[in-house]
Symmetry: C2
Subunit: 343 residues, 2 copies
Amino acid sequence: MSELKNDLLLQALKGEAVSRPPVWMMRQAGRYLPDYIKLRQKYDFFTRVETPELACEITLQPVDQVGVDAAIIFSDILVIPQAMGMEVQMEEGKGPLLPNVVKTESDIDALITTDTAERLNYVMQALSLTKQELNGRVPLIGFAGAPWTLLCYMVEGKGSKTFDKAKQFCFTQPELAHKLLQKITDVTITYLKAQAKAGANLVQVFDSWSGMLSPADFKIFAQPYLVQIADAVSVDVPVILFPKGSWYALEDLSKTSAAGLGLDWSVTPTLARQLTSNNITLQGNFDPSKLLAPIPQIKKEVKEMIDGFGTRRYVANLGHGILPNVPVDHARAFVDAVKEYGA
Amino acid sequence: MSELKNDLLLQALKGEAVSRPPVWMMRQAGRYLPDYIKLRQKYDFFTRVETPELACEITLQPVDQVGVDAAIIFSDILVIPQAMGMEVQMEEGKGPLLPNVVKTESDIDALITTDTAERLNYVMQALSLTKQELNGRVPLIGFAGAPWTLLCYMVEGKGSKTFDKAKQFCFTQPELAHKLLQKITDVTITYLKAQAKAGANLVQVFDSWSGMLSPADFKIFAQPYLVQIADAVSVDVPVILFPKGSWYALEDLSKTSAAGLGLDWSVTPTLARQLTSNNITLQGNFDPSKLLAPIPQIKKEVKEMIDGFGTRRYVANLGHGILPNVPVDHARAFVDAVKEYGA
């Protein structure tokens, strides 16, 4: 294993002084990159995810073309429901569809929780290959969906504005919900530990739909499982938790074993630092739509964002995934603005 | 005009002591009520909105059937873009479509800003008729969409997960965005004042998409126009502002001339009271999905919600619109739980 030439991200997660904040972008491997779109025309979604050479190539594109300080493995959070035996369909531009949703206790009992790393061996291969190809240029990020967010898809069967079927399941059958959440948690811990072993230098847990929950319900259905994952996986590699929309949980989560917390753009840097008592590395939180603004404005607002967070214990990122319609030179301007900070 | 027999809502908005908090539900007139669904099968959306007798009948249904403490006129926020000359299509279950979106300055110049009350005379007729039919039973609420939310639809042309076209318009052409927002604001003020004159006892302004904006952008593109509306319309009737997702704006908005602030369920009662220094009436914020929970749980959590907010300067409501799949007896349980509070 070659030593990292650029370990800004790991330094920032440790709270060490850095020459400038590291920068990467959620969903940086994908949709807005012309070279990715070419691959998309040749290979369907799961072929891209399941072929280590393709996943590796896609993972490296933003490192080479946009100059980010970390690679994040190209994959999908729904590989976990797949590994647990559920069918997942992905129609381009339409979002996921899980035709056989979880409804009953026997549906939960039927979910597979063994051999996770073997079942998702293609992810481990993609990580190993990418690690080799990176040759220490930047750290490699692994990831998984949070249990609450995966429950949303496994019960609802598709994306939703409200995920009310998933919530109804939790509110009417909380014992079943917790049984399901625990199963997902166990599998996810195994999966993330295997990712660390395969070469991931750190991992991020995406709780994309946690903001649908009230603060009280977040504490019941999301937080305990995030904490379990952070505790178990932090033994191996640093863990970043990204509970989108759940600004109300920042204080609690800052006291966990997570190394970093991802933020969406609804929270100001000042408030985020207050809520977390400046105790943990914060990551975010540029409005992805703002990358559609003129480049000088992007640069100005990135500078303001870093002024707000400070350079220590901070990872520059978007507040959610990059939009497919962002011009590549705007993405690059975002990255450049972070690199130029203080220069 | 008959005197109100139940003016709990107006008392709460004035900050007066009440025997119990008033209760109503956003979107209470509509989708979850079997009698509404019958009308929907006979008349298309805009026929229901534009026929005063139908709008009145739909408005009264939840007063009669669920026992809420206020009627809210059945209408739609997109009648304003229509009155400004834009085509709005509404396909059942699909959401709105505005085929000719605002793109250029000449598109904005072409928008009609005169004769708003005349163009929306059917709303005024519906209000007058409903007021008469209510015969003082409960107050009548008028409403409008907030300028930012209307801009979203007028520029994007339809619903969106990110409203990135609307945001791109604002970020790249802020002068045009402000020109459009001001036009919408002027028309909305005229419209809400006409609603007050036609019989609305109070009005609510729905900023359904304000939470898409960062705190900084909310201050630029949303807040100034909400403040203008609150200032102008409060002269006639109390104004409730509902900036969904914009918990970060509660402090600022509590210092405006608004009589009340609507809250979604991402904010706890305690924090909402802190942020607003207990200076303004708060309305909300039951998770609409929670109405799918068993009735005893609904009742328990409604009680906890009122315990949190206190009975003074408080209006019990959902944190967003009622879902179409809520059983009527669950909606009734919500209302009953408020009525039983402290009894």
